[in-house]
Amino acid sequence: MPASADLDPDAYEPGSREDFDRLYRTAYPRVYRTLAAILSDPEAAEDCVQDAFVQAFQAWKRWRPDAPAEAWVHRIAVNRAISYRRSAKLRQVGEVLRRLGRPAQPPDPADVATHGDLLSALRSLPPKLSAAIVLRHYHGYNNREIAAALGVSERTVGTRLRQAGERLRAVLEPAFSLEAGPAFPSDNRELYAED
């Protein structure tokens, strides 16, 4: 799924209603899937994506095509998802306190791995890390596009990808090592971090 071809910044004119509709049609499913990998609740993911498009629509006239439009929407949506997860965590803490001393244990990452649920493993990561992984390995963004989508430097993108990869590797390696031998070639890690 090549991203760069679809994300030509010249393809959209800021403030154009038709162009925004087109952006919505092409980017909505992709952004939704990114958030589905971050949030476990599909309704919350949909809410966040819709809110992100509303926010983007309001700022559409001010959008500058120095970055891909979809990456820009991704940035808004991922920030929304991060806010949502933060508030959800606070709600969980409140519920734990209400249960008075019997906090529910979070799902064991090993259990997640044995079920082969990649999404669950992704969702167990901090949203910034899982977003970087999805943008790279699902949407095919390069580091520059990921940096634009997450609003960070390319060096930070490399760090996040490395951290996310290490965590996923620890969780998923047993399951994936059955399929293909070196699913996580460690020799590429240094190269990756240099991005």
Partner: protein, 177 residues
């Protein structure tokens, strides 16, 4: 640095991730940005201001209706006039002077309170209703008004203000006595 499919997590991971994410079908919900909901939000931004304005206008309207004047100054003065409204019930010409005169009269004539009753004749038409309202003004009272406490007290204990008023209101130094 260009990304490669097999870097870090490898192709197996990517394949699995794509399969999982492609399985997800976003609902065909209508774009929220097309709905005028976000425009409502803009209008709701002014809701507190509108609420405050409406409250103030309601208060102003009720105040002007209560005071009968659209002038806000009157609304505030209204409180003051209410406080002063107690002495107002004796707006008769007499009560005004009394305050200065009373002391003079009080030294001499406290004993004669009955005379005051003789004055009324001059104003017999108007004062009568007032007397019924203020039993203390009529010194005769001891007999009349069925010996109410006030009249008794005024006659025996001599309450200066009331008596003085009657004296001064008569404006005549010598009662008919």
């Amino acid at each position: 640095m260009p990304k490669t499919d097999d870097d870090f997590l490898g192709p197996v991971f990517e394949r699995g991730l794509r399969q999982e994410l492609n399985r997800i079908r976003p609902r065909n919900s209508s774009p929220r940005y097309l709905a005028p909901a976000h425009q409502h939000l803009r209008t709701w931004r002014f809701a507190p201001v509108a609420l405050a304005v409406s409250l103030v206008s309601i208060l102003a309207l009720s105040a002007s209706v209560a005071t009968g004047s659209p002038n806000p100054v009157v609304w505030t003065q209204r409180v003051v006039t209410v406080i002063e409204s107690n002495p107002a019930p004796t707006p008769e010409p007499g009560p005004v002077q009394p305050k200065t005169a009373p002391r003079a009269g009080s030294t001499q004539g406290p004993q004669h309170q009955a005379p005051a009753t003789s004055k009324p004749p001059e104003r017999s038409e108007t004062p009568e209703p007032a007397r019924t309202a203020e039993p203390s003004e009529s010194p005769e009272p001891s007999d009349h008004q069925s010996g109410s406490r006030e009249s008794a007290d005024s006659s025996h204990t001599w309450s200066p203000p009331v008596d003085d008023r009657t004296w001064t209101s008569d404006s005549g130094p010598s009662p008919r006595y």
